[in-house]
């Protein structure tokens, strides 16, 4: 425990620049969207308080938006608004709308009609009644709505990192996919603190005695504070470089990733963090210029991207093979043989093709898996004699892994009497691996390079001697996993799904960039 705490503090100190930048972005996202939500939500709330028939549709609509899962909402917005701050702010704005509209509506509606009638009888005009009477009396309720919206926004803004809008989600999601607790906490703690601090500050404002403090003064000061916080955000966008890179949270934290690029190549590029689900499309649509992809990804072809040559070899070979706990091999004697039925059967181009069908043509992984097995005459009808235990198959959260998991499930059902349960979509490498170690799953497909650098964290002296040779890497991880973790690497499936940097073919050609070193040089020129 002590060690863990020490590490967290070290980590935060070491990454303090990044944390600060993320906090700034986070605050900026939260408050820019909040301002827009207030500017639109308040008048709308007042409008529906005045025209009651509009209340049901408006509140209903805002309520429905609220129920759309945040990730899905962000997904919907990308085709319209692209990636980055714009869709993130828009989504946050939508989430902030409901509490603001609803509370403005409630606040105004709850003002005692006797009081508004008195105001009218004294000779106040429509607007005088609104600003001198209704608005101040509704103020505590309106502020409560703004407070709720702020807290919601601080939370949802963590998801902005999935669409390259930055914020504390970069660490949170990077940490989740690498299972790096310090990294998760370095994002989660500041974002929790932000929520608590803003909630507290707004609760102070809310309890200001509105009778004593003049309404105008309070409103302006709140407006100035919020606008100030939003402006805060515009500062970092000043450093946008020539090209923009979009890397996945996992890539950001890996040695065969952003760390290696900076260390070995000295690559300095303006980088945003983005989820791999939308990364390829974003590159295709020119929101990004360089992305971290997988060499067998089907979208490489679909979006006309090229892989930059890794001339300094930071990416080791990534031959895929099922890895199985030794316990499971004992418990299911026929498992090894069955899993090895795929070995050597899938080449790079076949895998790319299969991925293409899932990632781009949106066919289901099961269908793609079944079609393939049938074509290779490996498919057999399930035996449905499931009386010898259940094999638990895991997979990481991308198409290729889903396909492989589906194939293994079909093979086991067709050739053995074991039952199968699949646990697909495990967030990241470390999560999958920990599930295997902790006996939550029995098998999942892994890549030799990932085993080498992420799990084993092999020191540079060793990796330097291995990287060029796929067999050496395989032997090394196989032997190390056996002794360290009691996990077996079965025979590789055949394809090498390497990490790679990619660019649009046209752009790479026109800039004459073929290797990562070319890219580094191009960025350094001028």
């Amino acid at each position: 425990m002590k060690e863990g705490q020490q590490n967290l503090i070290d980590f935060m100190r070491q990454e303090s620049d990044k944390i600060l930048a993320q906090v700034i972005t986070h605050i900026g996202l939260t408050f820019t969207s909040l301002i827009i939500a207030i500017l639109i939500g308040l008048p709308l709330g007042i409008l529906i308080a005045r025209h009651k028939p509009l209340a049901v549709p408006v509140l209903g609509f805002a309520g429905i938006i609220q129920t759309i899962p945040s990730i899905a909402l962000l997904g919907f917005l990308i085709p319209i608004l692209g990636i980055g701050a714009k869709p993130a702010i828009f989504a946050l704005f939508l989430y902030a709308l409901l509490p603001i509209i609803r509370n403005a509506y409630t606040g105004i509606t709850e003002v005692d009609p006797v009081i508004t009638e008195a105001a009218k009888a004294m000779g106040m005009t429509y607007w005088q009644i609104l600003f001198k009477v209704e608005f101040p009396l509704a103020m505590p309720v309106i502020l409560a709505g703004i407070r709720t919206a702020t807290v919601i926004n601080v939370g949802v803004a963590t998801l902005a990192s999935l669409i390259a809008a930055g914020g504390l989600g970069e660490f949170i999601f990077g940490g989740i996919s690498l299972n790096n607790t310090n990294m998760i906490l370095a994002g989660a703690i500041p974002s929790a603190l932000l929520a608590i601090i803003f909630d507290f500050l707004l609760s102070r404002v809310q309890h200001i005695n509105f009778k004593k403090a003049r309404i105008g003064r309070v409103t302006t000061s709140v407006a100035v504070i919020i606008a100030g916080l939003a402006l805060f955000y515009l500062i970092p966008s000043a450093y946008a470089g020539k090209l923009t890179a979009g890397f996945t949270p996992e890539f950001m934290g890996r040695r065969d990733g952003d760390l290696g690029l900076r260390e070995k190549y000295g690559l300095k590029i303006h980088t945003v963090v983005i989820s791999d689900a939308i990364m390829y499309k974003a590159a295709f649509e020119k929101h990004l210029d360089v992305i971290s992809g997988y060499s067998t990804d089907g979208r490489l072809k679909a979006f006309d991207l090229v892989v930059l040559k890794d001339d300094k070899h930071i990416f080791p070979p990534y031959y895929a093979a099922p890895i199985v706990s030794d316990g499971a091999l004992k418990q299911f004697p026929q498992l090894e043989k069955t899993l090895n039925m795929l070995s050597g059967k899938i080449t790079d181009s076949i895998m790319t093709e299969l991925n293409y069908r899932v990632d781009y043509l949106h066919q289901s992984p099961e269908k793609v898996a079944q079609d393939f097995l049938i074509a290779k005459q490996l498919y057999q009808q399930p035996r449905n004699a499931n009386n010898q235990g259940t094999v638990r198959i895991g997979s990481k959260i991308f198409g290729e892994q889903y396909i492989l998991a589906a194939m293994y499930a079909m093979l086991i059902k067709g050739y053995t009497n074991y039952n199968v349960s699949t646990k697909t979509g495990l967030g990241g490498t470390k999560i999958c691996f920990d599930a295997l170690i902790n006996n939550q799953i029995d098998v999942y497909p892994e890549y030799t390079g990932t085993g080498l650098l992420v799990m084993l964290q092999a020191p540079p002296q060793i990796t330097d001697t291995l990287v060029l040779d796929k067999q050496k890497v395989y032997n090394y991880v196989k032997q190390q996993f056996k002794t360290k973790y009691a996990i077996s690497w079965l025979i590789p499936i055949g394809f090498n799904n390497a990490y790679a940097l990619m660019m649009r073919k046209k752009q790479a050609e026109s800039l004459n960039i073929k290797t990562i070193s070319d890219l580094t040089r191009y960025l350094e020129s001028k």
Binding site: V114, I115, E117, A118, A119, K120, A121, M122, G123, M124, T125, Q128, V133, P136, L137, F210, K211, I215
Partner: protein
């Protein structure tokens, strides 16, 4: 001062106010009296256009009320509500100043006028900066009245101004209200369903039922020349007390025995009501009371029994 002609108001199928007409002379206090839901409030609110009539005309000071904007009109008419309707987020001073602010008076003028009203309404100056919820019901009602009087409007509309008060406070405020010189000059239309209150304050009473005026007359006329059975029925319960209140000692003057004790000087005017005279006699345990008729300085000394006797005589003459 106020002229209401063939005024009607329908809320859907409900005829809240049904073709009523009445006049209020300058300085007159007209009371709209009637059972709950008979259209009193609706009538009152049509005068300052809080409600627009379905049909009919209203003139204030000879001018039709739709000649000016409703805001302009309302700033010139004082309005007092049953539940005070004070602004909870304004201090007492700010509440009182509302209309003057809307009329853009300068600071000094506002401060002076507030000061004047606070004194007249027996509100301590220390209350200027407190909020309405820190005041008692009676004090709130006084502030409500001060707010209505701020710009010294010639016309005052009051909707059950004492309705929310307990009987003791209510009686006390009503008395202060009667004695307030500012109010004596005003033309007032006031709504109540309290018969005692109506007889206590009214120059004339409009007794309403189901949106119509059943009778429009002085308190004495309602008592002694009731238009129909509804009026008799309406006043029955409190009839005796009302009659004492509706008749002044001077009304009985000729019928009272002319006894005056020479050594006595009278400082009580014969314009007090019989009820008040009886009150003084019983409260002060006096055998007899000397009253002076201001018109000819004649003084009469009367006992309780003589006054009662004469009153019943008078009543018999009236109703026959």
């Amino acid at each position: 001062m106020i002229k209401v002609e063939n005024l009607s108001k329908n809320f859907g199928a409900v005829n809240a106010v049904d073709d009523i007409s009445f006049d209020v002379a300058e300085g007159e206090k007209l009371i709209l009296l009637g059972t709950s839901g008979c259209g009193k409030t609706t009538t009152l609110k049509m005068i300052n256009r809080l409600i627009e009539p379905t049909a009919g005309k209203i003139k204030v000071n000879g001018e039709s009320i739709d000649q000016q904007s409703p805001e302009q009109l309302r700033r010139g008419i004082g309005y007092v509500l049953q539940n005070t309707g004070l602004f909870p987020h304004y201090t007492v001073a700010e509440n009182i100043a509302v209309v003057a602010q809307l009329l853009r008076w300068d600071k000094k003028r506002i401060a002076d006028r507030i000061h004047e009203l606070m004194q007249k309404l027996h509100l301590p100056a220390g209350y200027l900066d407190v909020y309405p919820n820190q005041l008692s019901g009676g004090q709130q009602q006084r502030v409500g009245l001060a707010r209505a009087l701020m710009a010294d409007p010639p016309v005052l509309l009051m909707d059950e101004p004492f309705g929310a008060l307990d009987p003791v406070t209510r009686f006390k405020i009503r008395k202060e209200f009667k004695d307030l010189d500012e109010l004596k000059r005003k033309t007032i239309v006031m709504v109540t369903h309290d018969v005692q209150e109506a007889f206590d304050l009214a120059d004339r009473i409009c007794l309403m039922d189901k949106g119509r005026i059943v009778q429009n007359g002085t308190p004495a006329e309602l008592l002694f020349k009731p238009a129909d059975d509804f009026v008799i029925e309406f006043l029955k319960e409190q009839r005796l007390q009302l009659e004492f209140k509706a008749v002044c000692v001077s009304d009985l003057w000729e019928m009272l025995p002319s006894i005056s004790l020479k050594e006595q000087t009278a400082n009580i005017s014969s314009h007090i009501t019989v009820w008040e005279a009886l009150e003084i006699l019983t409260a002060q345990h006096k055998k007899a009371l000397s009253v002076i008729r201001p018109e000819n300085k004649e003084i009469k000394t009367i006992t309780f029994d003589q006054l009662m006797h004469t009153f019943y005589q008078y009543q018999n003459n009236k109703t026959v």
